[in-house]
């Protein structure tokens, strides 16, 4: 899969409470969740995020609560990909399970600035900063995880009998 978009950049330990504050967890409506995405960290996010945008962040992105509402809110905001130095593990598996593209790549996080245009080809493990021309390599997903992603998430993988 290829993803192209402009970058919105955040720091370390972006937790699920700031991605989607618990006061909005009385709903599971994707659009409503997206309308409060990042609210407690960056009040400008919802007004400036555009379809296809890419988030970059530091260590431990998505730490804290297991709320799947967090990757759902990010995905429903139009974000196509999150690149981080590392992800908290529940956020990581939730993203794979719901089909939000994520990748760990510290070099790319260092070499990409807010607003840069980026193209990521995760099948071949290449992230290009189209603004500066810099290129970064990533590790491909393990085969089992790749299978879940190719089948459009965990639900489809089970519904179609890929996982029994």
């Amino acid at each position: 899969m290829k993803y192209t978009g402009n970058v919105i950049k955040y720091g370390d330990n972006v937790d699920t409470d700031v991605i989607i504050p618990a006061r909005y967890l009385n709903t599971s409506d994707h659009k409503e969740l997206a309308s409060h995405c990042m609210e407690d960290l960056d009040k400008t996010f919802t007004s400036r995020v555009k379809q296809g945008d890419i988030i970059t962040a530091g260590f431990n992105f998505g730490c804290g609560s297991s709320r799947e509402h967090a990757p759902i809110a990010i995905k429903a905001s139009g974000v196509s990909l999150v690149i981080a130095r590392s992800f908290a593990r529940i956020f990581y598996r939730n993203s794979i399970n719901i089909g939000l593209a994520i990748v760990e790549c510290p070099e790319a996080v260092d070499g990409i600035n807010e607003g840069d245009k980026v193209e990521a080809d995760l099948d071949n493990g290449i992230i290009k900063n189209l603004t500066t021309g810099a290129e970064f390599k990533t590790e491909p997903f393990p085969e089992f995880v790749q299978k879940i992603i190719e089948n459009g998430g965990l639900i489809n993988s089970i519904a179609e009998g890929v996982i029994k």
Binding site: D17, V18, R23, R93
Partner: protein, 419 residues
């Protein structure tokens, strides 16, 4: 190659003789848990699987604890959705208002978890049950949906950090101080993707309440799970709560650990984690005069009877400081009843605190104790992220029940050793 406790439990649940760190496996589950926040998302996903019911009606549980008793109409709708689903699927262990408690205090109390179990819960603090020698980890709603459908989940087998505990905790120092100390030492991603395995002679001095509290906050160090070696204290607890026959998995002598960390319990002091990360742990030689406006004693971390006993011992016959709102939340109905019979509730109320029905409420900024801009709270909860208990400009200081009680009396963050 030798396996850790966690690896052995995972191997047995995947039908394999052995597993190694990094391996991806599909494991059978003994229990699948959800709450009123995460279950509605799971129920919607479950519907897409076209299954005729859950994989085992006795091995799925839902607990209405986060925004229950319903805080608003939307919360009421979410609980109703869970209630209807459990009714339609004949789910045995559905806990609603009147029977419910905070999930991670309730499930061990009800004997729904035992040593050797593999448990997933759509709640990050599901790692709590590692205190009973189970592999137990938090997942999202989609994993919960699939777990309810097929009784399995995929895992990447974790490597582990071993914590070798020695010594004995001092007066008014508890499991909470131990885990805040550890997170302060290794950081909020210090155990990322890994297991935290607790063992050593020091275990003998840790009550189940201490162990449940320590395992509960393994996630705050990024860990996949926290797990305690099973001993007589564990076995007695499981027996007393009519849990299933325990299966004991001990780490192999030659098990590989990424790191071994020595913790001398005798050296642990009352510890407070400053805003806005649990890793900002300080002891009282580093803490000055900090005024507070609220104290919360409760949550899946510290709402157990032992926690309330410790707080009541400090608050007995004293008044909460003027201008400090003190909220005590027994974690389950049984704890509430025991606290009542032991006279603890009377002590809290006479000191000027309020006592609430079990709920997660203020811990995640839901309701029952939301902070205004500029306010500070000492809380026995587990997270002090920006805005976690209310306004983004409020502050949470994480501490033990003893420290929270001492602070309630003085109106400042106070060591239980100084009261």
């Amino acid at each position: 190659m030798g396996m850790t406790m966690t690896q052995k439990i995972l191997a047995s649940h995947a039908g394999l003789d052995s597993v190694q760190a990094g391996q991806l496996i599909l494991a059978n589950l003994d229990l699948v848990l959800g709450n009123d926040i995460t279950s509605p998302v799971a129920i919607k996903e479950f519907a897409k699987l076209n299954k005729n019911g859950v994989f085992d009606k006795d091995r799925v549980t839902m607990v209405m604890d986060h925004f229950a008793p319903n805080k608003d109409i939307k919360a009421a709708e979410q609980c109703k959705m869970c209630r209807d689903f459990c009714g339609e699927n004949n789910v045995t262990h559905f806990y609603d208002v009147g029977e419910m408690g905070i999930e991670h205090a309730l499930l061990p109390e009800k004997g729904l978890v035992s040593a050797g179990y593999a448990v997933i819960g759509a709640d990050s603090h599901t790692c709590t049950y590692g205190a009973l020698g189970a592999f137990s980890t938090g997942v999202g709603s989609t994993d919960m949906a699939c777990g309810m459908a097929i009784g399995k989940a995929w895992f990447k087998v974790p490597s582990a950090i071993k914590f070798n505990l020695t010594g004995k905790l001092r007066k008014y120092v508890s499991g909470k101080d131990v885990i805040l100390h550890i997170i302060g030492k290794i950081g909020v991603d210090g155990a990322l993707y890994r297991s935290m395995e607790f063992t050593g002679e020091g275990l003998a001095s840790l009550s189940m309440a201490d162990r449940l509290c320590i395992a509960n906050m393994a996630i705050e160090a990024g860990a996949k799970n926290g797990i305690f070696e099973v001993d007589d204290i564990t076995l007695d607890y499981i027996k007393a709560h009519n849990g299933a026959e325990p299966k004991i998995f001990r780490a192999d002598e030659d098990a590989q650990y990424d790191e071994v960390i020595e913790i001398n319990l005798s050296e642990i002091e009352p510890t407070v984690s400053f805003p806005h990360l649990p890793e900002n742990a300080k002891t009282f030689n580093e803490i000055g005069d900090i005024d507070i406006q609220q104290v919360v004693i409760g949550s899946c971390t510290n709402g157990r009877l032992e926690d309330l006993q410790e707080a009541a011992e400090i608050m007995k016959g004293k008044k909460c400081a003027k201008g400090v709102r003190v909220i005590v939340i027994p974690a389950t109905q049984q704890i509430y009843l025991d606290a009542m019979e032991q006279g603890l509730l009377k002590i809290f109320i006479e000191s000027g605190a309020v006592v609430s029905t079990p709920t997660c409420g203020p811990c995640l900024g839901g309701y029952m104790g939301i902070l205004a801009a500029g306010e500070r709270a000492v809380a026995t909860t587990n997270r002090n992220f920006v805005g976690r208990m209310g306004h983004v400009d409020s502050e949470i200081y994480l501490a033990s029940p003893a420290t929270a009680a001492a602070s309630a009396i003085t109106g400042k963050i106070t060591s239980p050793w100084n009261i």
